[in-house]
């Protein structure tokens, strides 16, 4: 990436995301769903379709250097928010402004082919992460060395153990140069000795990224890695601020 963007930022203004529920037949089912309401998250849109509101009027602003932890219970909207930030879901309403290149690590196994060799998979995964063939070629040696897989990299992936596969996926995923890095849960790999190496590499990755948004249930991980926290509750921002302010209250509540 020769042209790194100087300005790196993420702005969300009153972003809402509604998921339409299709395949609902009959009025009575709709009526009963509306009655249950599930915390007022089920409603009707302008076309009288039943929708689930996944995110409700989210306004947030992240700047360069922000390490944002995304916390909240299951179904609070963490993954949906990451997907909005990644540009996958266009908000139903509200606006999103992104300055900088977004690298989303929502699925680090994407593009992996069981029948292809380790080296071929480095190439495939690299392309899937948005690297150019030149960038991949430059980094292949470093990635291969990090995996410690040696000659195994010439063998097809189905001959690998689960741990070996994780190492490979991890090594490629963490070889990127992100402006904005989105992660759904921390990624790690391997046995005790490798875990240490992996966590060092993760920290380096976080350090060289402009903005990190990390969704996790692990409170101590968030405290170690992040400087800001967004607490989501039923699709709304319940709290946003420095780690030191939010986390103690969050720990007490949960």
């Amino acid at each position: 990436m020769a042209l790194r963007v100087l300005m790196v930022s993420l702005h969300l203004k009153k972003v809402s995301v509604d998921f339409p529920l299709y395949g609902l037949r009959g009025r009575s089912l709709k009526q009963s769903l509306l009655r249950i309401g599930s915390g007022n998250r089920i409603g009707r849109d302008s076309k009288d379709r039943i929708v689930i509101r996944a995110l409700h009027r989210i306004s947030l602003q992240f700047e360069k250097g922000d390490r944002v932890g995304l916390i909240g219970s299951n179904g609070a909207g963490k993954t949906t928010l990451l997907r909005v930030l990644a540009g996958i879901y266009e908000p139903t309403s509200g606006t999103l402004r992104v300055d900088g290149h977004v690298t989303s690590m929502l699925n680090i196994r994407l593009g992996i082919d069981q029948e292809a060799t380790g080296y071929e998979n480095i190439y495939l995964r690299g392309l899937a992460m948005g690297m150019t063939p030149e960038e991949i070629r430059q980094r292949t040696a470093e990635i291969a060395a990090f995996t410690e897989l040696g000659n195994h990299l010439n063998l097809p992936l189905h001959t690998y153990s689960t741990g070996m596969r994780m190492r490979l996926a991890f090594a490629v995923a963490t070889a990127v140069e992100p402006d904005i890095l989105l992660m759904d849960e921390w990624i790690g790999a391997g046995d005790a000795s490798f875990t240490e190496k992996a966590s060092k590499r993760m920290n380096e990755l976080v350090e060289r990224s402009g903005i990190l948004v990390l969704a996790s249930h692990n409170a101590s991980l968030i405290e170690r890695t992040c400087n800001k926290v967004v607490l989501l509750d039923q699709g709304k921002v319940a709290a946003f601020g420095p780690v030191s302010e939010i986390m103690p209250a969050y720990r007490k509540a949960s």
């Binding site: 998921f19 929502l106 029948e115």
Partner: protein, 246 residues
Amino acid sequence: MWRLWGTLGLQDIRQRYRRSILGPFWLTLSLAILVCTLGLLYGQLMGKSYREYVPHLTLGFISWQLINGLVSDGCKVFISAEAWIKSVRSPLSLFVWQLTWRHLVIAAHNMLVYVGVALLLGIWCGLEGLLVVPGLLLVLANAVWVMLLVGILCARFRDIPPIVSSLMRLAFFVTPILWMPDQLGTRSHLALFNPFTYFVEVLRGPLLGYVPSAATWMLALAVTIVGWSVTWPMFVRFRGRVPYWL
């Protein structure tokens, strides 16, 4: 981006034939067997000479496999890319190019059968053969709008893939592949009601060494224009919704 869809398209084929000895040349072989068998049987049934019928049948099959592959797989073009669409931001066109490329590579393997047929029967298409280039471009220009249209519709309405596949099966029989248009006699214009006829024709005609009629080109062009003017506004309107439907 071409490297990504180029690699993914080839990967689709490689994945299917990994660890097989013939690899994608199984496609060539199975078409060769089909053409030999049907050429013998149907050539007799239709009362056509081997020389006339077999090239017609071979190119008809190759063209049809390309068109049918693009349309039928077009239904799943976004559905089968769900993992990609939901985990990285990717333009929808990426998957359309991937699919197009995959079927072009398959068609190239199938073309070897025609090369064999042409050599055996001593057929040379002459300069007219060059018209296959605009013919192929016309087919692809249409395949792209069809893939976008059915791809989006199928992502939203999951009843459409079976409808499309039964329509395509019907289309195979009403398109002059197994039979020849002149067999319709005074009613040969009937074949023109079927748009697939023109698209098979613009691929097959030039390679057999004759120029498809002006009407064929005009009709194919008309389908292209109508198709794009329907699909483009719909694509612009709904492309952002596709991730929600997967």
